[in-house]
C-alpha cells in the first residue's frame, strides 16, 4: 500500500515537474539572474516604502510612454498612501469625462476612482510617437513575462554598449536580457533621475528595484492575502489529513 502510494506521488511529482516546460520553450534561452525581492518566497510581502518609491519612478519616468490601464488611483491605498494623498495624486491629472447634460465632453481633475491616465489615446498614437514601437501596458507585466520580476529588474539594469561585431538596427538599444538583445526602449533609468522624498539615493539599481516591486504589486495585488490564506489552509488541511488518516486506520483496524 505504501509502495503504491509513493508511486502515485512520484507520478504526481513527475507531472508537476514536467508541467512548467511550456514556459521554458518560449524565446531564446538567456539566463535571468535571480534577484532577491521582499516578496520572494512563501512568506514574502511587498516592501511598502519600496513600492511607493516605485510608483514615483513609474509616475515620473515610465508613465511618459507606458500605460497601466487596469489600475485606478484608489488602488494606491493598498500601498499605504492615505485617502488625502491618493486624492492629491489623482487631482494632478486632467481627465476627459462626459457627455454632460448638453451632450458635451468636458475636462475635470482626476478622482481616486479614475483609472491611471494613459499617455496615448490608442495604440496607433503610441506607435507614431515611438518610432513604430509600442510601449506595452504594464498592468500585469510581471505575470506576462517569463522570469517575472527577476526579468523586469534584469531588463531595466541590463543596458550596455553593444559587444564588438553586433550591428544594431536603427534606433535600437542593446540589452543583455531582452530576447534578441535589440530593444526599442532606450535605457529608461539614469542615476538621480528621480528625487526620493525619503532621501534614498536614486541609483539605477535602486530605482529598478523599486519600480519592479511596484509593478509586481500592480500585477498581483492579492499576493499577500493569497499567501496568508494559503498558510492557514495548508495548516488546516494537514491537521484534517492527520485526523482523516487516524479515522481510516481505526475503521480498517478490524479487517487488516
Amino acid at each position: 500500500m505504501l509502495r503504491s502510494t509513493l508511486k502515485a506521488f512520484a507520478i504526481l511529482g513527475g507531472l508537476l515537474a514536467i508541467a512548467p516546460a511550456p514556459a521554458r520553450a518560449a524565446g531564446e534561452a538567456i539566463a535571468i539572474p535571480d534577484t532577491r525581492f521582499s516578496f520572494d518566497g512563501i512568506f514574502g510581502t511587498y516592501d511598502r516604502a519600496s513600492a511607493q518609491r516605485g510608483f514615483q519612478v513609474y509616475k515620473e519616468v515610465c508613465s511618459a510612454c507606458h500605460s497601466m490601464r487596469l489600475l485606478s488611483y484608489r488602488n494606491l491605498r493598498e500601498l499605504g498612501l492615505t485617502e488625502q494623498q491618493v486624492a492629491a495624486i489623482a487631482a494632478q491629472f486632467t481627465v476627459t469625462d462626459g457627455p454632460n447634460d448638453e451632450g458635451q465632453m468636458f475636462e475635470r481633475s482626476g478622482r481616486p476612482s479614475d483609472r491611471f491616465r494613459r499617455p496615448f489615446p490608442n495604440q496607433q498614437a503610441a506607435r507614431a510617437a515611438n518610432n513604430g514601437a509600442y510601449p506595452v501596458d504594464l498592468s500585469v507585466i510581471t505575470k506576462a513575462r517569463l522570469g517575472g520580476a527577476d526579468y523586469i529588474f534584469a531588463l531595466l539594469t541590463g543596458y550596455q554598449d553593444p559587444p564588438a561585431g553586433v550591428t544594431m538596427m536603427d534606433g535600437m538599444n542593446y540589452n543583455r536580457y531582452f530576447p534578441g538583445h535589440q530593444i526599442a526602449m532606450a535605457a529608461p533609468l539614469n542615476p538621480d533621475q528621480v528625487e526620493y522624498a525619503d532621501g534614498t539615493p536614486a541609483t539605477v539599481e535602486q530605482m529598478a528595484r523599486d519600480v519592479t516591486t511596484f509593478l509586481a504589486w500592480a500585477a498581483e495585488p492579492e499576493l499577500e492575502q493569497r499567501r496568508a490564506m494559503g498558510v492557514k489552509v495548508i495548516l488546516f488541511l494537514t491537521i484534517l489529513g492527520g485526523l482523516a488518516y487516524a479515522v481510516k486506520r481505526k475503521v480498517w483496524a478490524d479487517v487488516h
Binding site: 502515485a8 507531472l15 521554458r24 498592468s139 505575470k143 506576462a144 499567501r227 495548508i234 488541511l237 484534517l240
Partner: protein
C-alpha cells in the same frame, strides 16, 4: 415489480415516508452504503472519487466566474483581470478554476493509468471504460475552450492553431473550421460560441459520469489483483471502509491543489496568456496547456498535416478499442511480467511526448517524438495483441481474501458489518 409503495427499511418516519414513495434512500444505501467493494484497493482507487469532486469544484467556481466574465473580444481579458482585482475573493475563485483544470487532468491521467495498469478495461467493464474515454474527450474539448476565454495571446493563437487542424480533413474541413469560428477567422463569434459551449459541456460530462457510475455499479470495481470477488469474504461495504479511505485521499488531493492555488497559481500557465490577444503579433512559440502536450507532440511528429491530425485523434480513439486489442484474459499487470515492462515503457513515452510537445519543433525533439509516437501506438496495436498469446502470466491468486489475508480465518463480521444509518 408490483406497483405500489416501496417496502422501506428506514425507521425515521420522514425518511420512511419519502423512501416508500421514491426509494432514493434505499438506493443510496445500496450503492454507497452496503455496496460490496473489493477489500484490496490501493490508493490508486481514490482517483475516481477525486475526479468527481474536481468536476463539482469546476462547475461551482465556473458558475461564479460566469457571473462576472464578459465574452467579448474587447472586454474578455479585462473582465478576467477585474475578477482578479475587484470581485470579492475573485482571485481565489479564478485561480481555483484555472488550477482546477490542471488538477482535473492530473487526477484523470492517474485514473486512466490505473485502469490500464490493472486491466480495468477488460470484460465485463468494456462499456464502463469506453464511457470513461468519452468523458476524457469531453474534458479535453471543455478545457480547450475554457483556455480561450481569457483572450490572452495563447488563448487566441492556441485557438487558431487547433481549430485550423480541422481544415486538414478533405471536403468538409473548411466547412468545419468556418462553423467553429463562426466566420473567417478566430474572432468575437468564436469567443461567444466557445463560452456558450464551455458552459454547456460540463453538464454533458455530468451526464456521462452518471452513466459511467451506473455501469460501474453493475460490474462492480476491478481491484489490484484483477481477480473478481468470489463472495462476501472478498469484499467490504463501501461505507465506512472506502468512505474513510477516500476522505484521507481527498485531503491529500486538497493539499496539492491548495499548494498550487495559493503559492504558485501561474506555474502551470503560460506567461504569454497575460498579454491581451493580438491577431497581428504571433508568439515566438505557440504551445498548448501542459495536459495537451503529449497529443500535440504526436501531431507534430508527422510531417503530413492530415496524417498528424489523424494520428493525434487516433491516439485517443485507440483507447476505445483497447478492451479488444488486449487479448490476455489476465487483468492486473502484477501477473504479466512482459506486459508490465511494456506498459511502464509506454508511460515513459507519454512523459517523453509531453516534454517534446513543450519544445520547439526541431532536432532532436522531432526524432525523439517520432520514436515515442511509434511506441505509443505499437504498444496498443502490436504488443498487447501479441502478448495475449505469447506471454506466460504468473499464477493468479485463488481469491482476493486468500491473497490479502494469506488464507487465514476471516475476521468475524468484517464483510457483513451492519451499516450506520445516514
Amino acid at each position: 415489480m408490483a406497483i405500489g409503495l416501496h417496502n422501506s427499511d428506514f425507521k425515521n418516519p420522514v425518511v420512511r415516508w419519502i423512501d416508500q414513495r421514491m426509494p432514493i434512500f434505499t438506493m443510496m444505501q445500496k450503492e454507497y452504503g452496503t455496496f460490496p467493494t473489493p477489500r484490496n484497493f490501493n490508493y490508486f482507487w481514490n482517483f475516481g472519487a477525486l475526479a468527481m469532486v474536481n468536476l463539482m469544484i469546476m462547475i461551482a467556481t465556473g458558475i461564479f466566474l460566469a457571473m462576472h466574465y464578459t465574452p467579448h473580444t474587447a472586454y474578455a481579458f479585462d473582465s478576467v483581470e477585474r475578477i482578479m482585482r475587484d470581485v470579492n475573493f475573485g482571485w481565489l475563485i479564478r485561480y481555483v478554476h484555472m488550477n482546477g483544470a490542471s488538477m482535473f487532468f492530473i487526477v484523470v491521467f492517474i485514473h486512466i493509468w490505473r485502469g490500464m495498469y490493472y486491466g480495468s478495461y477488460k470484460a465485463p467493464r468494456e462499456l464502463l471504460w469506453m464511457l470513461g474515454v468519452v468523458i476524457f474527450l469531453l474534458m479535453m474539448a471543455t478545457a480547450f475552450m475554457g483556455y480561450v476565454l481569457p483572450w490572452g495571446q495563447m488563448s487566441f493563437w492556441g485557438a487558431t492553431v487547433i481549430t485550423n487542424l480541422f481544415s486538414a480533413f478533405p471536403v468538409v474541413g473548411d466547412w468545419i473550421v468556418a462553423l467553429l469560428w463562426g466566420g473567417f477567422s478566430v474572432d468575437n463569434p468564436t469567443l461567444n460560441r466557445f463560452f456558450s459551449l464551455h458552459y454547456l459541456m460540463p453538464f454533458v460530462i455530468v451526464g456521462v459520469v452518471f452513466l459511467h457510475v451506473v455501469a460501474l455499479h453493475i460490474t462492480g470495481s476491478n481491484n489490484p489483483l484483477g481477480v473478481e470477488p468470489k463472495g462476501p469474504q472478498d469484499t467490504l461495504p463501501f461505507h465506512p471502509y472506502y468512505t474513510a479511505k477516500d476522505s484521507f485521499g481527498l485531503v491529500i488531493y486538497f493539499i496539492v491543489f491548495a499548494s498550487l492555488v495559493f503559492f504558485v497559481p501561474n506555474m502551470l500557465g503560460h506567461p504569454d496568456n497575460y498579454i491581451p490577444a493580438d491577431p497581428l503579433v504571433t508568439p515566438a512559440h505557440i504551445v498548448p496547456e501542459w495536459y495537451f502536450l503529449p497529443f500535440y507532440a504526436i501531431l507534430r511528429a508527422v510531417p503530413d498535416k492530415l496524417g498528424g491530425v489523424l494520428l493525434m485523434f487516433g491516439s485517443i480513439a485507440v483507447l476505445f478499442v483497447l478492451p479488444w486489442l488486449d487479448s490476455s484474459p489476465v487483468r492486473s499487470m502484477r501477473f504479466r511480467p512482459i506486459a508490465r515492462i511494456s506498459f511502464l515503457l509506454w508511460t515513459v513515452c507519454f512523459f517523453v511526448l509531453m516534454y517534446c510537445g513543450a519544445m520547439p519543433a526541431e532536432e532532436p525533439y522531432v526524432t525523439v517524438s517520432r520514436i515515442a509516437t511509434a511506441y505509443y501506438f505499437a504498444y496498443f496495436l502490436v504488443i498487447l495483441p501479441l502478448l495475449g498469446r505469447l506471454e506466460r502470466p504468473l499464477p493468479l491468486p485463488e481469491s482476493i481474501a486468500r491473497a490479502v489475508l494469506g488464507g487465514g480465518p476471516l475476521p468475524a463480521g468484517a464483510a457483513a458489518k451492519p451499516m450506520e444509518k445516514a
